[in-house]
Amino acid sequence: MGVARYIKDDKDRIEDVILQSGIHIKPLYTPEDLKEVGFNYTKDLGNSGEYPFTRGIHKLGYRSREWTTRQYTGFGTPEDTNQRFKLMISQGQTGLNVAFDLPTQMGYDSDDPMVEGEVGRVGMAIDSLRDFEIAFKDIALDRIGAGLTINAVASIMLAMYQAVAEKFGFSKQAISATPQNDILKEIVGRGAWIFPVEPAVRLIGDVIEYSIKEMPRTNPVSVAGYHIREAGATPVQEIAYAIQIANAYIDNVLERGHAIDEFVARFSFNLDVFGNLWEQVAKFRAARKLWAKNIKEKYGAKNDKSMFLRGIFGGGGGGLTKEQPENNIVRSAYYALAAALSGAQTTALCSYDEAYTIPTPHAALISLRTLQLLMDEVGLRDTVDPLAGSYFIETLTKQMEAKIVEEMAKIDKMGGMVKAISTGSIQKEVARQAYEFEKGVQRSELIKIGVNKYTGGEQGEVELHEYSDTSAIEQIKSLKEVRRTRNGKEVASSLKALEKAARNEENVMPYLVDCCKAYATVGEMTSVFRNIFGEFVEPSIF
């Protein structure tokens, strides 16, 4: 996967392999290595389903349940996206992962002058409940869970999801949503932030607190190391930062007087599969163990389920190349293999054309089939944690664990993740790593096939998903229709109640649900927050 450094002699014999995490791989591993790292089966692994859950959170792994497939999907209008959802479900996809356009992610209505040219471009445009009614039409929301890839305004989108479910006759207790709801990683790596850190984290806490009371099947946060890794962090930093970010959210909910075992079992993670295969497998196994230890030892949880690291381990887009795009099909298959060998609960792949464009149905289905093949044809459901016991993998897992612990301690020293992000320290480090990586690729020290090795031959064609203004025009027309036909008084009073709750530091979620049901728009609800909270100002890192 091109992310380890290979030191070779003049006859192309490998003298050393240095993983991105800085660990050197040896040519041969024996029982001596396990002794050296102090490996102890019971303490370090235990059986699957047993603390510290290194081998997996469920006793029978994929035997009891295959992974959930959840391709990231959404573009154009809600109609366009609804059709694609149905196509994917009809082809065996078992969950949804909703892509919103940038105006929606940033809390603007489709007709806001700020968003010209962006409506429906990288995801679907959502302005009001009317759009959710179209997007989720004829989908069994009690059976199909939906990941909502939105963060700064995750609270609004979860409220709208509840509103649409209730309108369709599903109770809020019956539906399962996974709003990403991780604002700290947006600040580090993906950039779709709006509010300053403190109120932004409060909104994350509101979503978690509301969900544990009202939406028991919902996973109110998906802590996304994925985007931090994609922004440049090493695999070790990805896990260390994700755990520390999760801890920041836990602290917020604990401060509200809830006990750890009341809520943390519903936390989930979104982690990246990109890198050296062995390093990835060791990373996920170490992450499961460290999360369990963190929850048990630092927070004193008693319930096993609280200690489960559940997650979507998704194929990394950053690993894919524009060059020779069809190679991405093969790359992604290896990423999927790494995810399956690591016991991912849920998975998704970037499609082979995604370095260029929104995936075509053809490309999206190849990704889905790649995931299905592993479960049904290749044998990944046969037994739990199949690489366990390997001298190499167990040594590497212990080494990764030690490195992650070291990295977590650096954050503690900086005063915790909120502080480390507020000052820009994390962003600076991630940007530095991204630069080092790019230099490595440009000097051919890190190999990317088609980019700096085997670059000749046929390049292959990608069919571009052309963006059309028609979607934006239709979306704006429909938004105007909603504004014209809704009950203006109801909208105004629900927004007023929301404002009061936001100012009084009440949990805003029930008020957002009322706003959504009155067809208040995403822009109107976000404006309430913008007026009270203000906007985040990025710390300078150059």
Binding site: L102, P103, G117, V122, E186, G232, K322, E323, Y356, Y435
Partner: protein, 134 residues
């Protein structure tokens, strides 16, 4: 070329927050001896052009990943003309399909450097194309 250190504004226009490429380029241009100002995220075109004037830059580097590179670049070029900033060259990087490169050059963008372009190529281009100042 004068001996003046070249000043570059790396800018992220629009709502997209993927700034890995922008930050990597900022590092690379700094290492090549240029002075780099990074706009930060979510900038409007008028804000970017204003920053370019205030910082007295020679180059505006736009980093665009969302697919909206043509309309955004057009707005930047129009406003630069309006402001009489003819000596500033504009370069564009990001997710730019090959077929759009000539469109961008047609509206006055000096150079287009899609993701993966060797640092040397962008650095040399800037050094060769920044007009000298007296």
């Amino acid at each position: 070329m004068s001996d003046r250190v070249i000043r570059v504004l790396i800018a992220k226009p629009g709502l997209d927050g993927h700034d890995r490429g922008a930050k990597v380029m900022a590092h690379a241009l700094k290492d090549a001896g240029m002075e780099v100002i990074y706009s930060g995220l979510h900038q409007t075109v008028p804000a970017i052009v204003k920053m370019a004037v205030q910082e007295d830059v020679d180059v505006i580097g736009l980093s665009i990943m969302s697919g909206a590179h043509i309309p955004i670049s057009k707005k930047v070029m129009d406003l630069i003309k309006e402001e009489g900033l003819d000596r500033v060259i504009v370069v564009v990087g990001g997710v730019i399909p090959a077929k759009d490169i000539h469109v961008l050059k047609g509206i006055g963008v000096a150079g287009v450097f899609p993701g993966g372009t060797p640092f040397e190529e962008s650095v040399n281009f800037i050094k060769e194309n920044v007009p000298s100042r007296s």
